[in-house]
Symmetry: C2
Subunit: 490 residues, 2 copies
């Protein structure tokens, strides 16, 4: 059955878009650059949120909420930050509409704001302006805050989930007494993200540091997790920033140390967004639709009855009503689709499209034989399985599917981390094999920029576990002490 999905090999970009639309994850809205996250897509985000939120709480963070709007002048207080964020943004200039007397709704020229407000592209400035009142003494530190919110960065060329003007995210903002503690926090939260990516999203990631060129505007150091998509392009799935004392100085946030001295505090910030849903789709899905790792699948198991008569359906439903509580007790989310408005083949295609990890089909022959037909989404294999012990079988199978999806992505990545020892080799690899390319770089922003301009490849990161290795820069021929990770990226 054709699901109308463009083949991945034919047009990767169209394939991605087809899956987002046809699996009912999201759609473009009437507002340029803004998406609507549909119920099925949002239910994946809710799972991500619940897991991450618990991880943040387990590491001592509390949620809070800060204003959507930021006064324009706040951006000017941190020099690098203003360059990075106060450019493409939504600017509120008025606070009233009115009827012009001829039936038109117009902006009321008398309701102009004294100072324009920016819809937050990220909240460092408004949060650090607030922290000034929250921190007096070392006893108030560390201050470990997280916010779940919407943010807006004006984008002209948008792609659902991957790049939209408005997106949903979480942003952690922490204040510490020492530089060491702030760096430790920055690294700890990167580990939380990496753990989430690998063990929930089934997405292997490289942990690394960004080059100065690619740092967050206002950070001393930006850490990231970088994943590889099935078209060989990289995707940054999360970032964690060591902000030094930049924002504390810009917003005058000081504390009295144990020794009675007044000092500026040290900061981190870190975030992941609905972009992760885009990564999840691009990393695992196939030409039949979405492939979801069980740990993030809103529905893990779907059961479809196959029957001709009401009696047959009744017998199947009695069996299912015994099975479902057992699965739920094991924490498995299960749906019984006994709609009589759709045929089994339609349902099979629909759940395949939506990436449900396990599908059970039960017919009258199965009921006689004490079996079910089981299909796993990741490998598209079908098995006949005994009804007895089915709950445990499914529990194990879901773990197996999770591991298999991870392994497939890890194998792909292992095959797509390639060293390049000359610029020609580098360029050829980019155009043929793609993936991550490890190469020597002279450490200068100029060389990085030239390579980017000429090849569209960027330095994704300097891996944290990088080995030192003497060599020469593929571009300039200057000496280098380590390889860095290049790729074309989303």
């Amino acid at each position: 059955m054709s699901k109308g999905i463009t083949s991945k090999n034919e047009d990767y970009s169209q394939w991605y878009n087809d899956i987002v639309i046809k699996a009912d994850l999201a759609e473009h809205s009437a507002v340029k650059g803004c998406m609507v996250i549909k119920p099925y897509g949002y239910s994946i985000w809710e799972k991500m949120q619940a897991i991450l939120d618990q991880k943040f709480k387990d590491t001592g963070h509390s949620n809070a909420y800060f204003p959507l709007f930021i006064p324009k002048s706040f951006f000017s207080k941190e020099a690098a930050h203003v360059e990075g964020f106060a450019t493409e943004c939504a600017v509120v200039t008025h606070y009233r509409l009115k009827n012009d007397g001829e039936g038109n709704i117009i902006v009321d020229p008398d309701a102009k704001l004294e100072e324009e407000l920016i819809v937050r592209p990220t909240s460092e400035t408004i949060i650090w302006n607030t922290f000034r009142g929250w921190v007096q003494s070392y006893r108030d530190l560390p201050l470990l805050i997280n916010q779940w919110a919407n943010v807006v960065r004006w984008e002209m060329r948008t792609r659902l989930f991957l790049r939209t003007a408005e997106f949903l995210w979480q942003e952690g903002h922490t204040a510490h007494a020492t530089s060491e503690e702030a760096v430790a926090e920055t690294e700890k939260m990167l580990d939380v993200y990496a753990d989430f990516a690998e063990n929930w999203m089934a997405l292997p990631v490289v942990k690394g540091k960004k080059t100065p060129n690619e740092r967050f505007a206002g950070a001393l150091d930006t850490y990231c997790i970088e994943a590889l998509m099935q078209d060989g392009k990289a995707l940054q799935a999360g970032t964690s920033h060591f902000l030094g004392q930049n924002f504390a100085k810009a917003f005058d946030v000081k504390f009295t140390s144990k020794e009675g001295k007044q000092e500026h505090v040290w900061a981190s910030s870190w975030g992941v967004s609905t972009r992760m849903i885009g990564a999840l789709i691009m990393a695992h899905s196939d030409d039949q639709g979405l492939v979801l790792p069980p740990m993030l699948a809103p529905i893990q198991v779907v059961i479809v009855p196959i029957y001709k008569t009401d009696e047959e359906l009744k017998a199947i439903s009695i069996f299912v009503s015994g099975l479902m509580p057992k699965l739920k007790k094991m924490g498995v989310s299960v749906k019984y689709d006994d709609r009589d408005t759709q045929r089994p083949g339609f349902k099979f295609a629909e759940y395949e499209l939506k990436g449900v990890p396990v599908r059970l089909a039960i017919g009258s022959r199965d009921m006689e034989n004490g079996t079910v037909e089981l299909a796993r989404r990741d490998t598209r294999e079908k098995f006949t399985v005994n009804q007895e012990g089915l709950d445990y079988y499914i529990g194990n199978l879901l773990e197996d599917i999770q591991a298999n999806i991870y392994k497939k992505a890890a194998d792909y990545r292992a095959e797509h981390i390639t060293p390049a020892n000359s610029y020609d080799e580098f360029k050829e690899l980019l155009d043929t094999k793609a993936g991550f390319i490890t190469a020597h770089w002279d450490g200068t922003p100029e060389t990085e920029q030239k390579i980017k301009e000429e090849t569209k490849a960027t330095i994704r990161c300097i891996p944290l576990d990088n080995k030192l290795e003497e060599g020469v820069c593929i571009y300039s021929g200057k000496p280098s002490v380590q390889r860095v990770l290049f790729a074309r990226a989303y």
Copy 2:
């Protein structure tokens, strides 16, 4: 110990503000009209969200997310809606800032939007514009959607939680095949809100319908739950609207019925917001601070050790480490505050201020006697209780506290629903006793408006369980068939 809270009887408004600030619930931000919800206040909102979200899912609703921005022209499509909402609002007119060359960040005049965008004050228009693509056939109905989001309604005179320019809320939006189904949904969600108010917030509410004057802009009928605060003023804690086919017609949302006819769908919308936190504070708290019903308390039980030596602390801590898992297993949230930077008296005052329902204090004498000292926040009573069976004792006590807080509010309300049979009596009651006043009204918007202008009292609702009773309007003397509920309100 003075907590610096103004007495409720002295200045109710200042008392409220003192509690919000001193219990660390929220504060004003640098952006006029916008608040910062602090971690403790936000943790109450998280409890509310979790409970309501489960109730919405249990009644068949799915969450989704729609854009923050709404094109200006959308508001003009529903005549009543534009009057109600497209007035005081945040208007985005530009999408870029730039450096003017002299170091100033200014709005880029070249980046003016073709059509202004309004920051959503409520989402009917953008959602119904989206629903057009989601509904084709009766098989697509009912469509039961909820959104958790921030909204902005420009307010000059703000009060933390009760009235702020930006606030957090949920908005349900549903589409149905028939008028009857849409009305049934509207009433069902009102019941969900009433159940939440009474059984979680411990807040007795009157369920009723608004008069046409007080209806949501664009609704055929607005249902509400009305609560009474301790100063005798009413507070609308939630609303549920029957929208008829108004938005379906404005945005051309039609479906093919079972009979093959093209018909416009029928709609409801319903919402509650962070305003409920304001209601929670004002309904139950006292001059010592917040009083939280256990069902919504982020910390239900706090344990404070009282010791002179490390040995004493150790013995207490061993006992506590046995008690805490038992309480947690019962679903009780418990905190052990063994900070050595603060004295017990300071801690007692802090948890009283924050409304923690049960406080245990354990000293060396208690350890010898096998007892603990227990203080309940609602009545401020103290007891000596045996350590044996303490977990069950606390479980029962929390239920008792929840019931007692509800009873206190219900008793207050019962004493403050007063009939008035003349306009003089009505006005005197408003100025002396306040509360809800039941009185006859002639059913005209003109009379309602006159009474509002002269007394600041509004018709809160026509209670759903109202008895018919012949009488004459207190204002006009015209005949009336039922009493309606008046009050001055937040």
